[in-house]
Amino acid sequence: MPDLITITIDDVEYKVPNGMLLTDAAKLINIDIPVFCSHPKLDPLGACRMCLVEQDVRGRWMIVTACTIRVAEGMKFRYASPAATQAREDTLEFLLINHPLDCPICDKGGECPLQDQTLKHGPGVSQFQEIKNHKAKRYPISDLIMLDQERCIICWRCIRYLEEWEDKPQLGLFHRGDRSVIDFFPGQPVDAKTSGNIIELCPVGALTNRVSRFRYRPWDTKNIDSICVHCSQGCNVRLDGRIHQLRRVVARENMAVNDEWICDKGRFIHAFADAPERLTTPLIRDHKGGELREAGWEEALALVAQRLAFTADVQGPAAVGALGSAKLSNEAAYLLQKLMRGLVGSNNVDHRGGAAVLADPRGLSAIRDVEQADLIVLAGVDPAEEQPVLATFIRRAVRRRGAKLLILHPRQIEDTRYPGAYLPYKPGQEAALFEGLSRGLLQEARVKERAARLAGFADLVDGLGNAAVDAAGAEAVRLMLSAQRPMILYGPALVSGRAAAANRASLMNFALLAGCVERTFYLAPEANSVGARDMGLLPASLPGHAAIGDAPGRERLERLWGVKLPTQPGLGYDEMLEAAAAGRLRALYLVGSDPASQGPAGQAALQKVDFLVVQELFLTESAKLADVVLPAVSWAETDGTFTNLERRVQRAAQAIANPHSQAAPDWLIFTEMAKLWPAVAGEAKAEGKKSKRKSSGAARQWGYGSAAEVLDEITRAAPMYDKLSWDALGDEGTQWPLADAAGSPLSAVASRRLTPPERRSVAPGRDEYPYALVAGQVLFDYGTLMRQTEVTERVAAPVAVSINPADAAREKLAAGQPVSISSAVGQVVLPVRLDETVQPGTLWIPYSLPGAPAETLLGSVSAGSGARVRIAPGALSSSEKVG
């Protein structure tokens, strides 16, 4: 029970929690004091004077601001008194003096607190005849946000949001008195990754969304609760649709996931849903070398079913493979693997970032846990680019609770500005880095004593040797040991590629020695990275994480699906492409996967298969090579669930539908395709007769009438989804319990066993590839979805290779100059960009730039995020061309 005290408002006594702001306390007792500057998520300011009430101060009634007063025993207020009412009316009248009455064309009209308050609390008439102040009306403060300085009532919410949540004071109040205007600092427009939240915070129409400006009226849209699917955080959003189009995305409060914020990608990148380039009808290529032609669903689905079944029959199931995506909903991912396993009979299913990443499927304990940590270790992750809303929570932990950050990253990422330590490394040095830290920890007697009880201790000590720990490492160790509640967050970059196992072992050794292994968490990258694993969109594990080789787990699914399942693990993403290139994989089904955009190797592989099916939103590079293209719908056009990085299963409900398109939801495509499967169709025909075919009973298995029905089956297929249902998920979703991981293969990740370090060959010194390529995720890249909007042009990462200025000087490279970069497997040409945050000896290229330069140099998506490269001035000469 909070400590209750008694206050008096308008002569009535109320019991309210001690120390609460008067505005909040009043709300509890249904007195709605109007506010403008005050906001529950921002520190009190007391600037707008909208919330004026009278307070008894030692016997005198004084006008005070309710939003800055913390209630205490015996305080007396008057809210409805003539003086208080008059004061609020006067404030409103003042606010309106210089306010342009743009309501008919103002984006805020209809949801504008200023309009509402004026109606409720305003004076009937204005007595001022002064000419209004004129200020800038169309003033872009960033590529995404427009400011109308005349509409601005200077409530400071935008300034405070950027300061208090982003810790980026990018807006300020300039000039004094009535010349005061909100503005950015000269030459530095707003670029905080979650800046769009200030549009929603703005209590007037001063800040508007440059993407959806003038495209909606608030009373005129159909608003559907959904989630954002641009990254693994799964921020809760509301999709506002009108005339079958997605007009606007706004944040929806979910305290556990995103508080009430979303990032700019979630808010501004949605044009893809309505893009004219969307596929609207199935396409078929009648013979290799021919053109794609439009076709009906019936024909396309029958063709796919027959060809896949035929290939499996003739070449064996292992000659068929499917690549899905971590962006697919649970329902789509589940049905894709069920189709492959149950109908094709192949375990060849995977997705980019699937089997190649040694992910801990449990993800993060809970998103808001980061705010409780006093030391956050960021190992090979950059939340500011990868999960920007999570990044704001981390900053709150730093700024409000004094948490420190220990950052291990190849680039000097933005959050290295905070107290703590930054340890740079080059791709390939991860294990050595953690081994160094482990050595440092072992120099502490108490660590050594505690660790001596762990299995594998002696071998570890042996393997680590006794090389000295450098100063930065010693500082990191000191931070680790002095933290009370440390938390380690690591990303996919650290646990993928050739060294994945060694990297993870060295990280876990470090975490065990530091006593932090229970608080070591994997940050999954994509909207459904966790869900895709839960659904078994992997070559070696089934829904619910049962291993292929785990007979009881397999049999449970066999019973559920009424089929016999293959017992050999299938091929992973890269392996399938290699098998395709080598002619072993003859039919490939791509669902939301686009290997051809990942460089020449992917393209070559796809060209080799006999039969390529691509299920997509757009005619991607891969779709252009397909024999059959199936048009799918986006997350806004169908129901689906997604499981975020903290195992929260959330609903994304259908918000819009395009009546002019034949595109269909993934779950429906799979369902209809399954019905046309020869075995299933045959069985349906031979209804009643006894059949000895191996898919016997399968027909009954593919009768889904909605996504919710698919989810229903998932709850029986994956034990941790037990008891979930579409309705029960509600508005806020449900986390599947961590306890479900105990005793399952998942818990192996946290086994309390030290692993001796691997012997590594010493990296060659100055070789013909003197630079380490660092590749990684940026928020605004040129991925398929980003490409469909013109805002991308303005905000996306520069298309360039970034190099440390010192290296550039040594190589005699100037900014903007084209250079060719080559690795053992590829070569690209990019302009040079100088960047201090790129450490010497490395080059930085984000993933998903046009032409996929980073992917081309890496050669395969599971190579990890690093490769050795060399750089030379000038364009690509034809004799050097690779591949």
Binding site: N98, I153, I154, L173, G177
Partner: protein
């Protein structure tokens, strides 16, 4: 340094001073410097050297002597004789002072400012006791006049609680404007829970025309430091900040030097006077806005944030700099601490009135014979200040009003000339004591115009944070503009009064809360002048040019809604 070392230093300095026959004190405060005091001092030094008087005559640069409008000022001190003040000294007259007065004992009569003038007689120097008598850049000079012995006394013989009690007993009230009882404030900070506490001296002095604080900082910097150190001891702070207005480079330089000297001698810094008390003082240079003198804005500025006020509570005494209890007092308030500790609360309380104790410094300006810096006992009448000290408004002119408190204050008319100058009496008249600006106006001043001047100042200085002040000051200013250009209507006057009340009651900080004061007080005493402007389009003082036509009477008759459109250009009407 210990107390005995202080005494030794004082002794040595006095001996040094007595070793010369004559001391030539030369004012080196800003007003005199700007009228040529530096060349006068050079001329004096040159004359002394030329006449081989170096051994018997000392030339000393000092702080302000008071009658600044008559500067450069020079005081001649000859052992055994009354001090003689020279006014408007030039390099030539400096030469003559040395040759005729010092050498031949024939004072230069036409340059003498008689010391029996009421200008001096009616003053009571408590805070400025050293000003004009000591060299502000020499610690020894200050110590010779008992400097730092009050601190030594407090540290050795008084508990912090006793120091606070002594200040309370003295009745000292804040000189920064509001007149809050200083002892009470100290005691609040002393009792506030918290390990770390701070002391701030507010030397921002933004009132137009005021320079009391600058003079004190320039003329007697060690008094201020000593006062702050005593405060630090009393409230339990070990860090002080001196916030000096950006336009005061000389003050900042002298204070900086004084702090360094005091630290070197163990009078500040760690283990002050070899006690267990430590106290550091750092200087912060003001950001150049009037509102930065407001305590919460000033603290924001010290912390490196935008200098804008924040709502109180919490008061600085509970939560100030970096959320620690913080004592903030005006520079002049700190100037009173040393005499109170040195001579006792009773002595201090014997000066002044029942509720306003001690003295107050005013920057006397405007239409009086002698302008300058004066320190008078509380309770002195305005008449004495203007006619005796200031020498009256001059032949052929009539006194019209005295403005106190600058943009936050008000005007006092002739019928109230006998009002005693104390906090309560001034407030009752709608004026305030303020920080000490005192402008005398004669009948050539137009009161609506004066109000407009101060309102314009407020519109410029409003920080823009809160609505009533940001919007209200501009609205008030526009109405005053209409009144003074002949285009106002009767309704304007009514709206103006309503605006005043609203802005007063609902603004966030003192700037907005007091911005209407000049309007309200002139309306109170000179309403007929406003009416003359509006009804007869006439400026009785002949100041305003009535260039605009009033809004048509017809316009007034229109329904309000239509009037609001305001599209009919006033000049066509």
């Amino acid at each position: 340094m210990k107390r005995s070392d202080l005494q030794a230093m004082a002794r040595r300095e006095l001996e040094r001073q007595q070793a010369v026959r004559c001391r030539l004190l030369c004012c080196a405060s800003t007003p005199c410097l700007s009228s040529g005091a530096a060349t006068v001092q050079q001329a004096l030094e040159q004359a002394v050297t030329d006449n081989k008087l170096d051994a018997e005559v000392a030339v000393v640069s000092t702080g302000c002597m008071g009658p600044c409008s008559r500067g450069p000022m020079v005081t001649v001190q000859v052992a055994g004789q009354e001090d003689i003040y020279y006014e408007n000294v030039t390099p030539e007259s400096a030469q003559r002072i040395v040759v005729e007065h010092v050498m031949a004992n024939q004072p230069v009569a036409e340059k003498i400012m008689p010391s029996d003038l009421p200008f001096f007689a009616k003053q009571h120097k408590i805070v400025l006791a050293n000003s004009g008598l000591i060299d502000p850049e020499r610690l020894e000079d200050y110590v010779a006049r008992d400097g730092y012995s009050a601190l030594a006394h407090a540290l050795r013989e008084m508990t912090p609680e006793e120091v606070c009690a002594e200040i309370s007993k003295s009745g000292l009230r804040g000189r920064g404007g509001a007149g809050y009882p200083t002892g009470l404030k100290w005691d609040l900070v002393r009792k506030a829970p918290g390990e770390k506490k701070y002391v701030i001296a507010n030397g921002d002095e933004g009132d137009p025309g005021a320079y009391m604080d600058r003079t004190l900082m320039e003329s007697d910097p060690h008094r201020l430091l000593e006062g702050m150190a005593i405060a630090g001891y009393a409230v339990g702070a070990d860090q002080g900040f001196l916030y000096v207005r950006g336009e005061y480079p000389i003050a900042a330089k002298r204070l900086e030097k004084a702090i360094r000297t005091a630290e070197r001698r163990g009078l500040l810094g760690s283990r002050v006077l070899e006690s267990s008390f430590s106290f550091r003082i750092d200087i912060r240079i003001g950001a150049g806005a009037f509102v930065c003198g407001e305590e919460t804005a000033l603290m924001a500025s010290i912390m490196g944030r935008r200098g804008q006020p924040t709502p109180r509570p919490p008061y600085p005494a509970q939560s100030g700099l970096w959320e620690c209890p913080t004592l903030i007092n005006n520079v002049e308030t700190f100037g009173n601490i040393v005499p109170i500790i040195a001579h006792g609360a009773d002595w201090f309380a014997s000066v002044g009135t029942a509720k306003s104790k001690g003295s107050k410094i005013f920057a006397l300006a405007g239409k009086v014979d002698t302008t300058g810096l004066i320190e008078v006992p509380m309770g002195i009448t305005l008449r004495e200040v203007i006619y005796d000290i200031g020498g009256g408004v001059g032949e052929g002119h009539t006194f019209k009003a005295a403005q106190t408190g600058g943009p936050s204050g008000g005007c006092i008319p002739a019928e109230h000339l006998d009002t005693p100058m104390d906090y309560e009496s001034l407030r009752a008249l709608g004026a305030i004591m303020g920080s000490g600006g005192l402008i005398v106006m004669d009948n050539a001043s137009c009161m609506p115009d004066v109000a407009k001047f101060f309102m314009e100042f407020c519109t410029d200085e409003s920080c823009g944070k809160c609505v009533p002040c940001r919007v209200g000051t501009v609205q008030m200013h526009r109405i005053l503009e209409r009144i003074t250009n002949g285009s106002a209507t009767a309704a304007d006057l009514q709206i103006l009064e309503e605006l005043c009340t609203m802005v007063q009651e609902t603004s966030l900080c003192g700037l907005g809360q007091s911005a209407p004061n000049p309007v309200l007080s002139t309306l109170r005493f000179y309403r007929e002048e406003y009416e003359a402007h509006i009804q007869r389009r006439e400026c009785p003082a002949g100041v305003c040019k009535m260039t605009e036509a009033p809004t048509l009477a017809l316009m007034e008759a229109l329904p309000r809604r239509i009037r609001e459109l305001g599209t009919i250009p006033m000049s066509l009407a």
